[in-house]
Subunit: 451 residues, 2 copies
């Protein structure tokens, strides 16, 4: 697959040098846009732009939509103004609005005159929704039907709008004031008798979502009801757009990447690891590492407080990494499970009390098991007194670590912060500092009494 | 929403006590199956079974398919044999095969006689594919078309099969030997002129996938080409089924949950956190915690080796948690980024050399920044010599930790293990042990020479 792509890319470059545009069009005629991007995506932007223009007019906008945002902006700058205006006019409405938001003022002004008035307003509306909302990922290329239409008329109407709508497999039934009253699938239209009206076969009160909701909510509704698309309602209760399943899949992937990297204390959403500049990787990783360095100073302070105990019983240092790591590990397990459960909606904010009781029960069982495991090592390495200190510390440290890991995501949510900020390293650092204090306090108490 | 569900659940229970089946049918007539499951999913299984049987016959199988596996198995045991056989016969083929795999031998034998011979074979075939393969998530409810059919005939055919096929929006064109020769969308059929043949308008060489491929590959192909469904080819190059976008979304979510929990060293796939039994949570968390306890003993051994250095310079212990945590944090960042990049296909196995060079460059920059941050603390706390030891150790520990985090996922992949097993806690434990050795070795060398 990769070899074929490279071969064709070379062939395309050669055709381009020979200015043989017909061969390029012929070579790409039956290729899927996703594959064409795979072939030409690494070329200089000028060559990409020339190859794009070799395609049939109606395929140029589709292909353009498959490039990533960065490349789209570069292509927009590289293409002639008239070519770009034509492509821009034919793009899917949601992709066009996204691109518009990324362009410079100058580029926008160059493109707008080529669009019809209605399209310009549509685009301004779509681009106006804040990042992260349903409005920012919805599209306005959908088909609507009036309730009184017959199924035959409806099918004929859908055949006419098919080339422009993003999906004709689900249509939305709206009243005279564009309020959503139902939804109907093309399958139901085809199966119904010819004289039935849309109103008779439509699904009343279909699932919908509001433009100002979080974009993840669209994913949840589509997944729950197995929809092809979910209709979006604006502040005035009118149909404003739809979110399609394929855009929802992309949103789900982006959200997961963000959560996945946050849990390991990497900031920002993940670019492609192979393409990201070294400077970008450095900037995404250093902030949390530095915060955690200063966070871990607290562990050091805990050690400084108990320096006398340590110098009197140097064997205690042997168990230090083991004990604090155990608290951190148990805590990062709880935090990850809780971040995930809050994200998928398995657990709600109001469940915190119930989750706390459950976590306490599981944590004590985990802690007891780990204390038994470590007590034998303690006995061999430091005798019965050290074994006692280490076991008691283990129970407390693992229990406290687990509870911190469980509660932190809830607390962050409570103060409207993303629970995934309770990353494993952050929980580990807090559990470390607590672990140091607990360990040496217990050691001082038990060994102090014994000595 | 939740309140409505509870109210209706109470109303349904009351109707059931009064044996008023018509009111139940009326109350649920316009509800989506996902919402009905939300209402009755918490009831005793006997009540659920009775409510299910109040619905119209054709809706029973659809509703049944929306319950989770566990509940399906319970319902199968609670329903009369003839009722269950009827529901079983009408279920979507992939859901039926999944359920079949979960039943006892006795339950299977009770259900099989009610099914037609062809259906029984179909189900045995679907159930035969191993867990995790494309075959295990595909369905055989799809529509095929012969190449020579006209578009009018094709649309008429699709109208007839619409009630049984999982999707009619994409059909697959097969030759006499059931080999896949093309795919055609209902949209293209509707837009084409009436006398065109399927062969003339179909897409040749459509994307496909093999039944024995990993099920994640189906998600990738559907996402890449924005498909509604991807056709599946068996070992004999014949069309064996399709994977639909909604099943692919479910697979993507399950895979993500698995990766997400593995990175925090929790074993097994996530059940719902609120419903999971305490015993299950304990069993999922304890294995890695115990492995990590014994892993961290190596850090203790490192400390034991250098006990003389530590007792001579007790201030070194102050920096121990900070230094080893920093190596672990940098390592868990690299591991998470790499696990994710390998999973999404952003990075391939053959890229390891290039990734190593990039990671080394970023790690040295991170390490240098952190060394500068920590040297000031070292100076204040222990004087210039300790500051030097701590800074040099920080550079080495962070660099080594990052490289371990980056390489471990590649190594695991190389030996056909899931790279996500390189969980953050595992990387942290390894980095901890290395960090202890590096720190005290450098301290012994530098302070030994100085003293």
């Amino acid at each position: 697959m990769n070899d074929t792509a490279t071969l064709t890319a070379n062939a395309l470059s050669r055709f381009l040098q020979a200015d043989d545009r017909q061969s390029i069009a012929a070579a790409l005629r039956h290729e899927h846009p996703a594959d064409i991007v795979g072939m030409i995506g690494e070329m200089p932007v000028q060559e990409m732009a020339q190859i794009l223009l070799c395609l049939e007019a109606n395929k140029q906008a589709t292909l353009f939509g498959y490039f990533d945002h960065e490349t789209q902006v570069e292509l927009a700058a590289a293409l002639e103004r008239t070519d770009m205006a034509r492509i821009f006019g034919a793009m899917a409405h949601d992709e066009r609005a996204d691109l518009f938001a990324e362009l410079t003022e100058e580029q926008r002004n160059a493109l707008l005159p080529g669009l019809a008035q209605a399209e310009r307003e549509d685009m301004r509306k779509l681009a106006a929704y804040p990042e992260g909302t349903v409005g920012s990922v919805m599209t306005s290329d959908y088909a609507t039907l009036p309730p009184a239409m017959t199924t035959v008329q409806a099918i004929a109407h859908l055949r006419r709008v098919a080339p422009d709508a993003e999906t004709i497999y689900h249509s939305y039934v709206v009243d005279d004031e564009r309020r959503l009253v139902g939804s109907v699938s093309l399958r139901d239209l085809l199966v119904a008798r010819d004289t039935a009206t849309v109103e008779e076969i439509m699904r009343r009160d279909p699932p919908f979502i509001r433009a100002e909701d979080k974009r993840e909510d669209a994913v949840e509704v589509i997944r729950k009801y197995d929809l092809l698309a979910v209709p979006v309602i604006n502040g005035g209760d009118r149909l404003a757009g739809i979110v399609t399943y394929d855009d929802a899949m992309d949103v789900a992937q982006e959200e997961e990447t963000e959560r996945f990297t946050k849990i390991s204390a990497v900031s920002g959403v993940g670019a492609n690891m192979l393409d990201a500049s070294l400077g970008l990787l450095y900037r995404r990783r250093i902030p949390w590492l530095l915060i955690l360095v200063f966070g871990n100073v607290f562990s050091g302070i805990g050690i400084a407080i108990y320096e006398d105990t340590i110098s009197a019983h140097l064997a205690l240092v042997f168990f230090l990494p083991l004990l604090i790591a155990s608290g951190g590990n148990a805590g990062s397990q709880s935090a990850t499970l809780m971040v995930r459960a809050l994200a998928t909606g398995d657990v709600k904010m109001t469940d915190w009390g119930r989750m706390l009781a459950r976590e306490l029960a599981v944590a004590i069982a985990l802690a007891a098991t780990m204390a038994i495991a470590v007590s034998s090592i303690g006995f061999v390495r430091g005798g019965p007194e050290i074994a006692l200190v280490v076991s008691v510390s283990m129970v407390l440290i693992v229990t406290i670590g687990s509870l911190i890991g469980m509660l932190l995501p809830f607390l962050l949510s409570r103060f409207n912060m993303d629970p995934a900020t309770a990353s494993a390293p952050l929980v580990t650092s807090i559990a470390d500092a607590v672990g140091v204090l607990v360990y040496f306090a217990i050691a001082t108490m038990l060994l102090g009494l014994a000595g």
